[in-house]
Symmetry: C2
Subunit: 345 residues, 2 copies
DNA sequence: CGTTAGCACTCTCACCCATCGAGTGCTAAC
DNA sequence: GTTAGCACTCGATGGGTGAGAGTGCTAACG
């Protein structure tokens, strides 16, 4: 496609993104220094339309981009707009303020994305392919119950109660010895390796027997953690999307919200992105989900392939600033990469 | 007010709650066996209107309740509708499925309320007036940093990193001794009592010196926890509210959502409810917040007065089924009471 | 041959107006 | 006190109209 046509397509898209109104040939000539008359622009607009990149809501209206138009724009016309140094610094600072645990970061990522793009921010926690034990702790609750606290290398903390029999060790001092034993043997273990380690414990010895019982509970927790699909998707700034004029009659948006509540769908989405290592853009009807045909997603994975993977991204109207969104998502996913790396360093 | 008028007010409200349309005298006579003609009903409707309990959108339209009408209905005409035994059992079962920690319960409470009332469910965690230490644990991260894990009796787990100097104890074995010392002295302490206990430690002895340093960090965590306003308000089912026809043009609802994002406002709300021990109903313009004039809140506190207090509730259009909402909120707050009691038993 | 001016044409939007019907409020009779 | 009857009000609906925006086409231009 010739360069002038590209410039005009770009102008149409960028005008439409800000105004949310179909763009006429006149307006283009006036607002963008194209150096040609409106008639010429009209000819080109007609070509772009027959190429499927623009449409017409009706004969006497201006042009607006199609999904294919946005796709072409994203892939060939513009590059992502990187964040300014100031913005980058501010975001890094914010991440420095929260506790050092992946459980907290992903929420902040969603909030940050929402604020920067004035769209909805989405993020999932970095889910490890197999969680590793970092620390085991036992606290006596009463004569029949202990509270188990399990710290994972991934930054998560899990808590559970373990019932104890009469022949188990039940006072805090003994529980401390049990926990000591478990820490000695299970640090850095996963669900799989923990199993074989435990089987070596001596059933005859009381401390070891209790340790084994607790260990089995630990394995159940790890299994649950590993097996859970998308454990949680945090979203923020859905309000921003509500403010877009195309969603004034909230019908379309309600469908989007409903789709977002569907765990299975989110799981698919995350899965589809996790493979690649780049920012993925899903424009309108490119999304297999019918309800999402009026919105676009800009998603990127973060974390360590094969270890822990999460996804961050932005959801907005198809009429969104892809340049800005892609740049922002790229930066945030990069930052999350760094953070997760620290957990494994 | 005479009984027949009450019956008619009740009929208007219950009809309006389901139909969302102004109710005419004819419809009332047909659908509710009132035993009088529509003309008589009209006379009474006019009285109810001059009493301020009903309005008119315009001359030739039916009647709809005012906020005062709903208020009268809630206070004198109907009682709360208790949940069926089956529903109660199902809910109890669900709460049995999640981990035993107040941090999880309040989310489930919001989700449950949303589902049962088909409105938005709100819940805050039970915030203790002063958090109590239940367990301290230290894990070596590297030569310069330890990870501090603090378990509170209230069910919360806090994590922080503690920087260590050269002259501190830094290997895991030593950290275990430090943690042991802290557990020995600080279990059941609050921020206040922990301070005086720590000051008794001997600065000359290395283990005790490190313990003191960690202890100071612990106090900071406790202070933050105690001082935090409403730490979190979890809401679920905002979509249910979006589906109400009065919010078809999403403008009003957007204001509500914006108000809900305001922490300070939520703090006020929670504070206002925490005092009483009953279900509190805030109907439309009774709410001091202008943005909330088109919605109603049904709130109830839970927890132990003077110890840990949280709030659960429902947000819906003023045109909501108060009977059902009040019954449901009452049950859920009662259930949460039981659960929190277990933490202190 | 690409570019441009001119112009007829199309379609939406906003506005007006008449009609319709639901529901009221009043009056007079029961 | 209750009811039938009736005039009246006011929103909703639908058709008609004019203005305006923007197109597509044609013919002239460099």
């Amino acid at each position: 496609m010739d360069l002038r046509s590209q410039a005009i397509l770009r102008a149409v898209i960028e005008e439409y993104v800000t105004s949310a109104q179909p763009v006429g040939s006149q307006a283009l000539v006036e607002r963008y220094g194209l150096g040609v008359s409106s008639a010429t622009v009209r000819n080109i607009l007609a070509e772009l339309e027959s190429a499927g990149l623009l449409t017409h809501p009706h004969t006497s209206a201006g042009r607006m981009p199609t999904d294919a138009g946005y796709r072409f724009y994203v892939e060939t016309i513009v590059d992502a707009a990187p964040l300014s140094a100031v913005e980058q610094l501010m975001i890094r600072h914010q991440f420095g303020q929260v506790e050092f645990a992946s459980e907290h970061w992903f929420r902040l990522a969603a909030t940050t994305l929402a604020g920067l793009t004035r769209s909805a921010g989405l993020a999932t926690p970095a889910k490890p392919s197999a969680a590793h034990i970092r620390r085991v702790d036992l606290v006596a609750v009463n004569e029949r119950m202990a509270s188990l606290i399990l710290v994972l290398r991934e930054g998560a903390i899990k808590q559970a109660t373990v019932p104890l029999d009469e022949d188990d060790a039940i006072d805090q001092a003994t529980l401390n010895r049990v926990a000591g034993l478990l820490n000695e043997h299970l640090v850095d273990a996963t669900a799989t390796t923990a199993g074989s380690t435990l089987s070596k414990l001596d059933e005859g010895e009381p401390i070891q027997r209790t340790a084994r019982k607790v260990g089995e509970r630990i394995i159940r927790i790890l299994d649950d953690y590993d097996a859970a699909a998308v454990e949680e998707v945090f979203s923020d700034g859905l309000l921003n999307v509500m403010e877009a004029p195309e969603f004034a009659q909230s019908d379309k948006l309600r469908q989007v919200f409903t789709a977002l509540e569907n765990r299975a769908y989110l799981g698919e989405l995350v899965g589809s992105v996790a493979g690649s290592s780049r920012v993925r853009v899903l424009i309108g009807a490119e999304n297999p989900r019918e309800e999402m045909h009026h919105v676009s997603l800009v998603l990127a994975p973060y974390g360590r392939p094969g270890r822990a993977l999460g996804v961050v991204g932005v959801l907005g109207p198809t009429r969104m600033s892809y340049r800005h969104a892609i740049g922002t998502v790229r930066f945030v996913s990069g930052l999350m990469n760094e953070l997760v790396d620290h957990l494994y360093a």
